[in-house]
Amino acid sequence: MISVENVDLTFETNDGPVHALKEVSLEVKEGDFVSFIGPSGCGKTTLLRVIAALETPTKGNVIVNNMPPDDARKAREYGYVFQAAGLYPWRTVSGNIKLPLEIMGYSSKEKEERTKKVIELVELKGFEKKFPWQLSGGMQQRASIARALAFDANILLMDEPFGALDEIVRDRLNGELLKLWERTSKTICFVTHSIPEAVYLSTKIVVMSPRPGRITDVIQSPLPKERTLEIRDSKEFIQIAQRVREGLKSGHLDEDL
């Protein structure tokens, strides 16, 4: 589905070049839930942006849905959920969800149908006519996910979508996201800096470390596809979490900490 091969990315800044990604290789299969985890500056968001064709790698090869990422972007092969909900204040919830559909030129009948479907999917029924400021942070982020789902792309790229929310809301949305993933069978790439979130959600955990941004470990999760919050107390869960923590630590050893 997504293949990243030997990708290097260097940003030219006023303080000299910054090596954001170094020799990054990764395979994401259809239906995978992949988490990118690591400290800030490890390039996890940059990697997601490379897949989304929002950044162009300096070196290396990226294939998304059998095409170069920029073609995939133009073909609207993925939905992207940003850290902030980024809803337009002058549009209602349903107006915001319709925005990408308008841009993509869907008929008004189809716009209505799709909006209705994704609003039910993210459990925002009854809030269609509300403006963003009338919603809580969690509901805004759900609307933002609905907007990314509205045009039914196979891939969902999420950049710390719940990073700004409190833990209780985050747990709930994580549960909902898992349900949604199961129902829609999408391929999800998910950036986070929370170990429990990464382990709870993913089928594959990609551990990254900074300066230069690189992958230090890829963990295939043995957890079953159907998960409840209680799974976090299981032995497997704790073992994976430990391995992630080890991976994060080993990344730091290189910098004489």
Partner: protein, 289 residues
Amino acid sequence: MKRLIINNSILPILTILLFIVIVWYLAAIPMNSEKVTRQFKNLSFTEHVEKTWNLKKPKLPTPHQIVNEIINTTFYKKISSKRSLVYHGWITLKATLAGFILGTFLGIILALGIVHNRAMDLSVMPWVIASQTVPILAIAPMIIVVMNSVGVTGLLPKAIISMYLSFFPVVVGMVKGLRSPDQMQIDQMRTWSASPNQLLWRLRFPSSLPYLFASLKVGIAASLIGAIVGELPSGAISGLGARMLAGTYYGQTVMIWSALFAAAFLAASLVFFISFIQNYTLRKMAILR
């Protein structure tokens, strides 16, 4: 809420107004005394003061004289009459609105160019700023004379001067407004593969509206000043500017002051009108709540 507004804004304004009126009446006494002593002999103090407040051609006319003149020339003259303030006000208003519309369009077009084209960003903005450092009083006669020589007179030259003043706040405000969406919002549009037009109409333009309205309020007041300045050097016989000029020629101070107040009232109404549209639009867009 209403009551709060009344308590918070009307009372201080009225207090200041009362203060100004008192100072005004007091100032009129010494200003007009000389003329009164020349015209009348053996007046008591109260009679003297009363005369200073009611001279036909005073150095400083008093508020009630101006109010009387405004009422007289507004309500008791035919609107088509050359002595009607409404007639002159309308002439100036036409030029103001024409210049305002031209200036707003010019401003928006320049801002769009500046935001979308790097070459324009670097080359146009310094000229826009330079244009406003030249005093309008120096430019206005040139515009009138040049346009007159090619046979264009009347409304258009005045509107051009209005435009010259009013496009500036619109350019500055709209450049800022069109650039107000953050990188994330622009990236988001990119992920949907939105066209430049869609980016403009669905994101940049709506985001810029609060900035546009702030600019329009400055712009319309500047337009009125432009129209009045445009009437001064042209030897125009109608318009509020012409009225002020005629007043100075004939020593009709009451006429000057009443034209001045009419212009101030017009400016205030225009700004208020834009504010009204602003509140309505932004409320409707749920930006203001």
